[in-house]
């Protein structure tokens, strides 16, 4: 009897160990001391908890291993090596900032680990996949939109809304002097130009600039009616405040990262009104049937609204879930990659919180039923409205009352 019992115990124990070992171990990369990193951490945790509560993926629970990259290439490399060799994770998700991600694609290739990216908006990231598919096929951009696509959404709004409605003829670029931001601004300006808008002034200021009055002055003196901005740093806050204080005679349209969250109102002391920014494939608009619920749930859970990186971060685990469930052999990387390539979360559908559809280079398909950029504006009444494209409109774009064109 004793023998039988102990035998049973051993069987039970080994079974439970076996069961415990059978999880999906996923490494999460992010600069957690920054807001971007926090978004990754919170949204991924939220998705993992949901999936686990729902029984996991193919019956296996998700186990997350967070590694702080501190915004540095070096820390990210150490983190990837630790995750792949020590923690032996099955997948990596996350990564914010193009520099570190670009530099570590080779490490990813060397470690042959599937990586679902959440940040790193440089078009060069997926260009690498295009250049050498077999080497870099492990990377998928689940988000955010690359800088070109972000620029497109701004440009489209100017070309298809502001130009026909307000007969805008002249615009200026004022943007932070960073590659990522410059690409957004220049792409937007290019589309505006095709719609007949003349770019009369261009200025790139270094991160940490205190005074924008000279730039605003020069832009308006050159006759600009619209200022195309792309400010991915926190400079966007004081930029907007100063624009409001100076009652600059040109509308502020572009991509100010700080403006893409409800706190912006407090950070500017309410001086954010009329500011207009494109939200890259996310935001409080019904992109899918789940988007608005997600927004609310995140706010309830963490006390803050999700940021623009939260959307792809949350999406990654659901993209992975769908791929694993459809893969021929979910433990074979090649099969998982093939299944990932087939994942589609359509615009307006009920999967994910933002549309996902991959190009053959593992970039997001932009436009159509793929990813999109929504233009939001801080209205005079203080609400934060989606104003473009029309399908998502929660309010009408308002011309700043001090502008006389």
């Amino acid at each position: 009897m004793k023998k039988v019992l102990s035998f049973l115990l051993v069987v039970l124990l080994s079974f439970s160990i076996f069961a415990a070992a059978k999880t999906w171990k996923i490494g999460v990369l992010g600069p957690y001391q920054t807001e971007n990193g926090m978004w990754v951490q919170q949204a991924v945790q939220m998705a993992a908890d949901e999936i686990n509560a729902d029984g996991g993926i193919l019956g296996r629970k998700i186990e997350l291993v967070f590694q702080d990259t501190e915004g540095s290439t070096q820390k990210m490399q150490t983190a990837i090596i630790k995750l792949t060799t020590k923690d032996k994770v099955d997948f990596i998700i996350g990564g914010v900032g193009s520099g570190p991600v670009l530099a570590n694609l080779d490490i990813m290739a060397r470690q042959k680990i599937i990586w679902l990216g959440t940040g790193a908006a440089s078009p060069d990231v997926t260009k690498k996949v295009a250049e050498n598919y077999s080497k870099y096929k492990y990377y998928f951009r689940v988000g955010t939109l690359d800088s070109i696509a972000q620029g497109k959404s701004v440009g489209d709004f100017i070309a298809n809304y502001l130009v026909p409605k307000y007969n805008v003829k002249k615009a200026a670029i004022i943007s932070v002097d960073l590659v990522y931001a410059k690409e957004i601004a220049e792409t937007a300006a290019e589309i505006a130009k095709q719609a007949g808008v003349e770019i009369v002034y261009t200025d790139y200021f270094p991160a940490g600039t205190a005074d924008f009055s000279a730039s605003f002055k020069k832009a308006t003196e050159a006759g600009a009616q619209v200022i195309i901005d792309a400010i991915v740093t926190a400079d966007g806050i004081q930029f907007t405040k100063q624009w409001y204080d100076l009652k600059v005679n040109a509308a502020l349209v572009g991509a100010i990262a700080a403006a893409l969250k409800p706190e912006f109102k407090d950070q500017t002391n309410g001086k954010c009104v009329y500011e207009t920014s494109a939200y890259p494939n996310g935001g409080p608009a019904p992109l899918t049937t789940k988007t608005l619920d997600f927004f609310e749930k995140h706010e309830n859970l963490y006390g803050v609204a999700p940021g623009f990186i939260s959307f792809p971060a949350y999406n990654t685990l659901y993209v992975l879930k769908e791929a694993l469930e459809n893969a021929k052999n979910p433990d074979n990387d090649e099969d998982v990659i093939k299944a990932l390539e087939k994942v589609v979360f359509p615009l307006g559908g009920d999967k994910g919180v933002a549309p996902v559809k991959f190009t053959e280079n593992h970039d997001l398909v932009y436009g159509g039923d793929g990813a999109s950029g929504i233009i939001f504006q801080w209205s005079k009444s203080g609400s934060w409205n989606a104003v473009w494209p029309y399908e998502y409109k929660t309010g009408e774009w308002e011309k700043p009352e001090w502008i006389n064109w």
């Binding site: 957690y32 001391q33 967070f66 590694q67 702080d68 501190e70 915004g71 540095s72 290439t73 070096q74 820390k75 490399q77 150490t78 983190a79 090596i81 630790k82 792949t84 060799t85 020590k86 900032g97 193009s98 520099g99 570190p100 670009l102 530099a103 694609l105 080779d106 440089s122 060069d124 002097d177 960073l178 590659v179 990522y180 410059k182 790139y204 270094p206 991160a207």
Partner: protein
């Protein structure tokens, strides 16, 4: 292989590689600043010159490490001389600000001149040091040991003795006929050369050079060298090695890690100004001599 189980652990191997490179950063800072008393607050500029040079070349021509390392050595030594010539007259805070200004100009330019430098995204796709992780580690280790050894021997030599005399009093050395400018420039050149080579090796190690891995080093080099102990190369190098090692191992702690780092710095300037490893070294020596007496 079995004697050193660490060598099978790729993660530790990677941390080791980074730590020995940081040991070179700290040691090369010490060679100029610890010896001559010219506190360089812009050591990152000297590291950047090596790293970015490899980056620039790589974007046109895939340069291999055996070529780029001697090239980096020459270019960064010349750069050290060029910066050294006008600034060597400056003392204390003036020299600190001049070097800080140089590093900040470099940083701003490497962000602004993005067509050349890749801006905040840096330059990637640089040829790897070697194909494998283990061979890369040995490469880095060999270089670090050699660099630290050379600087240590130079520091122990008559040349180093003169540098130390400059730290205490330049006029007293001049009165004896010592050509202080020659020695200061030489120290600049040596310090800059090793920093530049380390920078180029890092570029090859990561296959990347960018602002994130270079510019925080101005401060870090000072911290590592001062906490380790200045004026003897090896204590500074040990400071670089251990602080980096610990900081990499503690990277899960994020902000707490950085906070701890600064607390260590503050406490050691207040209570162990000679540096942890200088202090330990002295302790060991006194114990040794006591044992010898018995």
């Amino acid at each position: 292989m079995y004697i050193f189980p660490v060598f099978k652990d790729y993660y530790l191997l990677n941390v080791f590689s980074i730590a020995v490179i940081y040991a070179v950063y700290a040691a090369s800072w010490d060679f100029l600043s610890g010896f001559t008393g010219k506190e360089n607050f812009g050591h990152a500029a000297f590291i950047a010159i090596g790293g970015y040079m490899i980056g620039f070349i790589s974007s046109v021509y895939p340069i291999k490490p055996f070529l780029s390392i001697p090239l980096a050595a020459v270019v960064s030594a010349i750069f050290g001389i060029l910066i050294g010539l006008p600034t060597l007259k400056l003392k204390g805070p003036y020299f600190a600000l001049a070097t800080l200004a140089v590093a900040t100009i470099f940083e701003k330019l490497s962000i602004s001149l993005s067509d050349l430098t890749g801006g905040e995204e840096g330059i990637y796709g640089i040829e790897f040091l070697t194909q494998g992780q283990i061979s890369s580690f040995y490469f880095v280790l060999t270089f670090a040991v050699l660099a630290i050894l050379i600087m240590y021997i130079l520091g122990k030599s008559n040349f180093g003795l003169i540098l130390k005399s400059l730290r205490s009093d330049e006029d007293a050395a001049r009165a004896l006929g010592i050509k202080i400018n020659f020695y200061k420039i030489s120290a600049f050149a040596v310090s800059s050369m090793f920093a530049g080579i380390a920078g180029s090796i890092v570029a090859h190690f990561y296959g990347y050079i960018g602002p994130d891995i270079v510019y925080p080093l101005s401060l870090n080099s000072i911290i590592m060298a001062v906490v380790g102990g200045i004026g003897g190369i090896v204590p500074a190098a040990l400071g670089g090695f251990f602080l980096t090692f610990i900081s990499e191992m503690l990277s899960e702690f994020g902000d707490w890690n950085q906070l701890l780092y600064t607390v260590v710095l503050i406490l050691s300037t207040l209570f162990l100004p000679s540096g942890i490893f200088n202090y330990l070294g002295a302790k060991i020596r006194t114990i040794g001599s006591k044992a010898g007496e018995k």
